[in-house]
């Protein structure tokens, strides 16, 4: 186990940021800490880096007890949401910083900086100041700077949070490819479930200072352990008292085998390739059901507002109310 966190508690005044958190993060993997803002995921990352002290509990990095080590001694690479660039230094000097602190020879440093700039596609920008780079380039520089010292683990705190949607997506793909190339144990914090599902090998869902579930993206999506995980990882709707994903509902325009519930399409909204339906059921007291179908499916069935339909849940991810109660 590369990083072992055990029984960590952290309070800020009266606010409980982490409540008895224990987690093992395996070597060489890309792990996402996912959760809503203020849920404690950044605090956990900062405790692993030594930028914050835990009130109690232990942190072990690659078998070394690190709980009371200062950040300088942990050999951890950290990337911040707002880049934390050394503004008065050129890009190359930023990347070289950790190596110069470690008193590497000039030739060594230069060679390593050149390699890293190549790796993050900033070779032509070495002499520029960080202020002359775009946000995405600055974050790549920050990544190269963190990787320069060959850290045991690489920690990224909302690394793409300050970037616009398009650059965000590019960098996300790029981080995945970089990880496949470099293989350093990486942990990144995000509140964006799509980002976590797309990039991570393993996801740790954190909410209100506690770990809700740990698993691969597929496990989390298909077998959510709680109401919270299910609704945080994607859209949900309620059908027959069960939490169901809107795209896991079958729609028919005539009663098939008697299992479907009858209703009427009260609203139809097309968003790109998907069509979102709101179905009002005949059953008294049942809330409206949100259903998502593909554009092709909608055309095929001739779905439109006011049309009577029969809907039923497919047997994919659905959460029984009893399971929710047990989790709570």
């Amino acid at each position: 186990m590369s990083i072992n966190v055990s029984g960590v508690n952290k309070k800020f005044d009266d606010f409980v940021a982490l409540d008895n958190v224990s987690v093992d993060l395996p070597t060489g993997q890309l792990t996402a800490l996912l959760g809503p803002s203020g849920g404690g995921k950044s605090t956990l990352l900062r405790i692993i880096a030594g930028l914050e002290d835990a009130d109690s509990g232990t942190v072990t990095i690659e078998g070394n007890e690190a709980t009371h080590l200062p950040p300088q001694k942990r050999n951890v690479g950290f990337v911040f949401q707002h880049y934390a660039a050394f503004k008065h230094m050129s890009v190359a000097k930023n990347v070289a910083f950790g190596l110069e602190i470690r008193k590497r020879s000039k030739a060594d440093t230069q060679k390593r900086v050149a390699e890293l700039l190549e790796l993050v596609h900033l070779s032509q920008f070495g002499h520029r100041l960080p202020s002359q780079l775009s946000g995405g380039q600055r974050q790549r520089m920050a990544l190269a700077r963190a990787l320069a010292v060959e850290p045991t683990v690489l920690l990224l705190d909302e690394p793409f949070g300050a970037l616009d949607a398009k650059v965000r997506k590019e960098l996300r793909d790029w981080l995945r490819r970089l990880h496949d190339e470099v293989h350093v144990t990486t942990v990144f914090v995000t509140h964006d479930q799509e980002e976590a599902l797309e990039v991570a090998d393993e996801i740790v869902v954190i909410n209100e200072g506690r770990i809700e579930q740990i698993g691969t993206p597929d496990e989390l999506y298909d077998q959510p352990a709680s109401d919270f995980v299910m609704s945080f990882l994607g859209p949900v709707t309620t059908l027959d008292g069960k939490l169901v994903r809107p795209h896991d509902i079958d729609v028919h325009t005539r009663p098939e085998d008697g299992t479907g519930k009858k209703g009427r399409i009260s609203r139809l909204l097309r968003v790109g390739f998907e069509v979102r339906l709101t179905v009002s059921l005949e059953e008294v007291g049942h809330p409206d059901v949100e259903v998502t179908v593909t554009r092709a499916n909608q055309r095929h069935l001739g779905l439109e507002e006011g049309l009577p339909v029969w809907i039923s849940a497919t047997n994919e991810a659905a959460l029984e109310p009893s399971v929710q109660a047990a989790q709570a």
């Binding site: 300088q72 951890v76 934390a84 008065h88 230094m89 970037l163």
Partner: protein, 282 residues
């Protein structure tokens, strides 16, 4: 965001290019008004001082400036001002640091009181210093009529400059930059020297230039405590006052011209140092 970052410099370059060719009516008027204001307040009086000094001719000018008493006053003024500037660079930065980074009881009060030496009429400051460190000092510290008195008065009135220029820059420094340095292995001292200090240098230099300019021109706060002894505690501004009282306006202007040159030299020197330091961090 990237698009904005790229677009911004381009558009400003365009604006500058247009400005070089012609000014719009509004900005032409604004430029004219500021230049007239600046000329009336600064350029014309400065020119008048130089013209007045020129009445002496080169030989006369040289005689006034090389008088032993004048030379002593000029030397004292420049040396003590430089000393006070160095003191301010260190203490002003430290004070700003404490005010921004530390939490202590009465911090808000200290923050307000810092400006008092600047806001106080200088002659009042002189009275305060005289009653505290003069012959009837309640502290038993009598430094009246010594060069220490001059230094103390200068240190008193120049205190706020470096503090007030460094403070906002220090406040705007992002904490995550220091955390980044720490996670890369830099000790606190190294982080200060290599990351924080370079960001503060322009502010420190600006504050130091202001403090120096204030120090060489100081009169009111030191005139009571220093005793204005010839060859010992007489500063250049007192010397100017003396010449003027004797009806020797041209000699007074000659010293004024020298002070003007010294001020320019130091401000240029500080600017050069700042550029050097900025480049070294690169």
């Amino acid at each position: 965001m990237a698009a904005v970052g790229i677009a911004a410099p381009g558009s400003s370059r365009k604006r500058r290019a247009r400005g070089r060719r012609s000014l719009s009516a509004g900005s032409g008027l604004a430029l004219g008004a500021t230049m007239i204001w600046f000329s009336l307040l600064v350029l014309i009086p400065l020119a008048a001082v130089l013209i007045s000094a020129a009445d002496l001719g080169v030989g006369g000018f040289w005689d006034v400036v090389t008088q032993p008493q004048t030379l002593a006053a000029l030397r004292l003024t420049v040396v003590e001002s430089l000393g006070v500037t160095v003191l301010n660079i260190v203490m002003g930065t430290a004070l700003a640091w404490v005010l921004v980074r530390d939490r202590f009881w009465g911090k808000r009060l200290v923050d307000v009181v810092i400006d008092v030496p600047f806001a106080l009429p200088t002659i009042v400051a002189g009275l305060v210093l005289l009653s505290l460190y003069g012959p009837s000092s309640p502290l038993g510290l009598n430094i009246a009529n010594t060069r220490i008195a001059v230094f103390l008065a200068l240190a008193f009135v120049t205190l706020p400059f470096v503090v007030r220029t460094v403070q906002p820059v220090l406040e705007s420094l992002e904490r995550d930059v220091e955390e980044a340095a720490a996670s890369l292995g830099a000790s606190r001292l190294m982080t200060f020297r290599r990351v924080i200090l370079p960001s503060l240098v322009p502010a420190i230099v600006a504050g130091a230039a202001l403090a120096f300019a204030r120090a060489i021109s100081e009169y009111g706060s030191l005139v009571l405590l220093s005793g204005n002894l010839q060859y010992r505690t007489e500063v250049a501004s007192v010397r100017i006052y003396g010449f003027n009282q004797d009806g020797n306006r041209a000699s007074a202007s000659a010293i004024a011209a020298i002070l003007l040159v010294v001020a320019l030299l130091v401000i240029v020197a500080l600017d050069v140092i700042q550029r050097r330091l900025a480049r070294r961090g690169d």
